[in-house]
């Protein structure tokens, strides 16, 4: 079955430190991959997406993600975290065979930033 896994439920980092949020997917073929962020009480905002080509993808708010086919991973990174980055982050995948036009989400990673 198609699935997206975010192994870290909670992560705490200090402001200014680097960040990496992990995401693994299980699909028959490489899906389209996305990262979304959700601030408290808000809907989801798209940070970045990967379709094909360059495996390092740049997004908004200084985030980037690297696609690694061999590891079935799409980890989100930021060199220096700001207090305003505290939020919940969701990795998602859109399968093109059998899955149709439906995003499948991971369970999310809650990021806390210590000042």
């Amino acid at each position: 079955a198609q699935s997206v896994t975010q192994p870290d439920i909670h992560i705490t980092v200090s402001e200014g430190a680097s960040l990496e949020l992990r995401c693994n997917y299980s699909y028959g073929a490489t899906p389209y991959l996305f990262w979304y962020v959700q601030s408290p009480g808000q809907g989801l905002q798209l940070l970045l997406k990967y379709f094909s080509g360059d495996t390092l993808v740049q997004g908004i708010k200084g985030f980037e993600a690297e696609f690694k086919r061999s590891q079935s991973s799409f980890n989100l990174r930021k060199p220096s975290v700001h207090w305003s980055d505290a939020a919940e982050y969701f990795c998602a995948a859109l399968g093109l065979t059998g899955g149709g036009n439906k995003l499948t989400f991971g369970t999310g990673t809650q990021l806390k930033v210590e000042l």
Partner: protein, 114 residues
């Protein structure tokens, strides 16, 4: 700015009530979706629609139905609300046959069933 608007941010309903959650998008998107979000479970797809008057079941359709009479509006219906339907409900829309440009989400409706 493009928007997906959910009519209510907070709702409190009684067990057994019929509940309507409304979602409107102004982007002329073909595809619309309803998810529910629960802690530790992420977002789970309830129903989706690729066109007016069509609908397809998602991963957890039991206890829900939907209506899409106009392209811009997608309603989620809880036929007889139960306490296990207390959740955050998120509506989304996307463009094109694959929605690969990404989804646009509403701000969510937090439903409490008492």
């Amino acid at each position: 700015d493009v928007k997906v608007t959910q009519s209510s941010r907070y709702l409190v309903k009684r067990t057994g009530e019929k509940v309507f959650l409304e979602c409107v998008q102004d982007m002329d998107h073909e595809n619309m979706f309803w998810y529910r979000q629960d802690p530790g479970l992420g977002l789970r797809l309830i129903y989706f629609s690729y066109d007016v008057k069509m609908k397809e079941k998602g991963d957890i359709p039991e206890g829900y139905s939907v209506s899409r009479e106009k392209k811009e509006r997608f309603s989620l219906i809880l036929e007889s609300a139960s306490t296990n339907q207390t959740s955050m409900y998120l509506c989304a829309s996307s463009f094109g046959p694959e929605g690969a440009r990404g989804y646009t989400f509403g701000s969510g409706t937090r439903l409490t069933v008492v």
